[in-house]
Each structure stands twice: as C-alpha cells, then as structure tokens.
Symmetry: C2
Subunit: 241 residues, 2 copies
C-alpha cells in the first residue's frame, strides 16, 4: 500500500510556487499575478479570467501579463494549478501529519470544512468551476477535473488506510464513502454560500460523524469518537455558519 | 399538521402555464419563448439569458420578445418560475400521490434523482444557478433562492410527516436529514455531469437508503425496505450513470 500522494504525476502543479524573498524576480511577479488572478477567478469565475482583465486589476500592461502566461487558456490552467497547490497546503499536507487511518481521514474532512468556511465569501474554485465547465470540454475543464479527481483519490486512499488499520469495516466501499463525504461538503458550500443559512458547518460535521459511525460499526479496531472537540471552532455544531 | 404545499404563496409561479390547444395565442407564444429560454439557460446559464439572445434562437424580433417579458431581469425570473413549475410537475406532484410518510419521502427522492438524471446533459438550473448567483444579490438571486428554499421546505415537511407516522425516529432532525439528502443530489449532479463518472446514481440511492435506515432505527412504526425495486431503472445501483 502506497502512502497518500498529494498529486498524480500527470496533474502535478508546476514547480513555480516560491514566493517572497529569495525567489527570482520573475517568479515573484508571476506569483503576484497569480494572487490577483485567484481573487479575480473567485469573483468572476474561471471564465472571467482574461489577460486583459488581469492587466487591469494588477495595473500591469497586457503584454506584461502575456509574458508570464502566453494565453488566456494557460492563465486559466495556471490559476487552477495554483488553487490546487494552495488547497493541498491548507487541507492535505496538515492532515497527512496525523496518524494513518481515521485520525487522518477526520483531519482531511475538518481541514476541507475549514477551507470552505474561509471561502464562503469568495467561493470554491473546484465547486464553482465544476458548474462553469461541466459543459465546456477542453484543456481547462480537463485540468480542473484532473485536480478534483486527484483530490478525491487522496480521500479514497485515506479511507482505504482506515479500513486497513481496522478503524473502518472491511466491507466499507471507499468510493461510496468518498461520494457521501463529498456530498456533505457540496451541501455545506451551497447552504452557507448561496442560501447564507446558519448551521451548515454544524450539519456537515454531525453528518460526517454519522457516516464514520456507520462504516466503523463492527470494525476490527474501532476508535472512539474524537476525545476533544476539533481545534477549529468553525467545525463545532454551535458555530453560526 | 398541514399537508405538503407545493409552494409558499410568496413564491408561487405565475398562472401562465397553459400550453397548446385552448390557451390564448399570446400565452402559447409566451410558453414557446419560455421553452426556448429554458434550453438557453441550461446551456448558457441564467446570466446567459437576454432578450437579444432569445430573439436570435426563437427567430423573433427583439421587440416581440420584449413585449412578453419587458426586461432581461423579468425574463430571467420567469424562466426560474417556469423551471420551478416543471420541477414540481415532475418531482413533487407525482410524489404526493404516494402515501404519507416514508413512501412519499422516498418518491420525492427517486423523482428528484430521475430529474437530475435527465439533466445530465443540460444541467439543473437550481444547482447551476446557485453557483451563478451566490455572489450576485438582487431580485434574480432572491427568486432562485426562494424556489430552492420552497423545495427544501417541501422535503422537510415530508420528513416531519414520516416522523409523525412513526416511520422515522421521533428524535430525527428534519433539517439535518434534508441537508444530508440534498448533499447526495449535489454529489450525483457533480459526479455525473462534471466528472461523467459511472455509478453516481447507484451511489446516491445506496446512500439514501442508508440515511433512511439510520433515522428509522428504533422508530415506532418502521416500514420494510421497498418491496420491489423502484420503477425507474435509472435509480438502480447497476445503472450506468
């Protein structure tokens, strides 16, 4: 069994993420443009990204932006890769420092919820992008779908490990569990962002524990429910989102 | 306990849905324009709807379309109302002919799944619209959110009735159940439409029965699982979507 791998090689982010001191000036500029592009994509959608719009918000010339990205499509794909890299930094990497099995799976979910909670005002590029590109085949859709599938694969691997550790039943279906957990995140994003409804984070957390409880019943080595409430107050059912 | 009501009065569709023989010519034309507008919205999003675009696809003059809708915003809201009316015809009305309680709740879910399954190539205006309008306050967003909230309210009422009938536990939380069921539909739409993944309908159905099973445990008057497979082959786990 391999460990969790953050990305398939095919979908690996480009190695261009050094920022700040020490990074060559060109890379610093590119990182600054990507920052602006991520903000723009959150507001306008990935389809709202263009060399011209980005030049306007960064105060750069079109040719300056063009020098870094070459085409609108390349810009869009770079933004998706950057979002993916940040998603991994915030959701995936902290979670794989948790022990294998249920603690790691729970951390993946809690970090994901925390990420969506920070995005209530900006939106999740994965979720919004899926709707934007579900009927637009092409390299941008493929890049986005590749990142989403990679992330789903990471979850499925974490679930498999929890089965191997005996934290979940051997007959648990990892793809089915991943589907159910993803549904909770989508419902959270919908209710918190579109409906502005109170209590969505709490509902997602309650449902997640119920999913775990179901698939842990009769496991060889079940773990108790988490001994302390999750560190992020945001995942408490009492939270106001 | 009131029976299920298809719409809050506030959000009731306008009474303009007579089509075909017998309806005045103006209403027939309006219905034909709305048909075209729904198709256009499915492809381009609600924001893709304009008097000009609709004139182009219907072969009418802009002033002809304008005579029926008056403004782009009115057109968009009319399309949302029309979608809602059709959604009720396909999902809600057949379900309320089922016995109160779990049979009706199950029918609501199965009809909803069947509706999403027919929309894999066109997209669901509720789901796509939520992402389109989650950061665009105004009358169109309000109309859309009103319809979605009305529909969620119908589900919550069906769940409450199932509790009253003793089919579900008295401590089941209807809002929590609705959240979980909605999540399954969102995951189905995402996986089937964006990822084109096989088996999403089956996963949604399996998960729904698990949700029901959980909330039915220890109920006063639990029902057996459905005696025959649902009529729609589309909801079978073996289905290819």
């Amino acid at each position: 069994m391999t460990d969790l791998t953050p990305s398939d090689a095919r979908h690996a982010p480009e190695p261009v993420r050094e920022r700040g001191r020490g990074a060559p000036k060109g890379q610093q500029t590119r990182a600054a443009i990507l920052d602006a592009a991520l903000n723009l994509a959150a507001q306008m959608g990935i389809e709202g990204l263009s060399i011209g719009a980005l030049a306007e918000v960064t105060g750069m010339s079109k040719s300056g932006v063009f020098a870094h990205f070459g085409s609108r499509e390349e810009l869009q794909i770079s933004v998706i890769r950057e979002y993916h890299a940040r998603f991994e930094d915030e959701v995936f990497h902290p979670a794989i420092r948790q022990p294998r099995g249920l603690p790691r799976l729970r951390a993946l979910f809690e970090n994901w919820v925390a990420k969506v909670a920070t995005e209530i005002d900006s939106g999740c590029i994965y979720i919004s992008g899926a709707v934007e590109f579900d009927d637009r085949p092409g390299p941008v859709r493929d890049a986005l779908a590749g990142m989403v599938v990679t992330w789903h694969g990471s979850l499925v691997r974490a679930i498999r490990m929890a089965i191997e550790m005996g934290h979940l039943r051997t007959d648990a279906d990892p793809m089915q569990m991943q589907f159910e957990i993803h549904g909770l995140i989508l419902a959270l994003h919908h209710d918190a962002r579109f409906l502005r409804s109170v209590g969505a984070i709490g509902r997602a957390s309650v449902a997640f524990e119920r999913v775990i409880q179901y698939y842990a019943q009769g496991a060889a080595n079940p773990l108790p429910a988490p001994p302390v409430p999750p560190a992020a107050g945001a995942t408490s059912p009492a939270a106001s989102v």
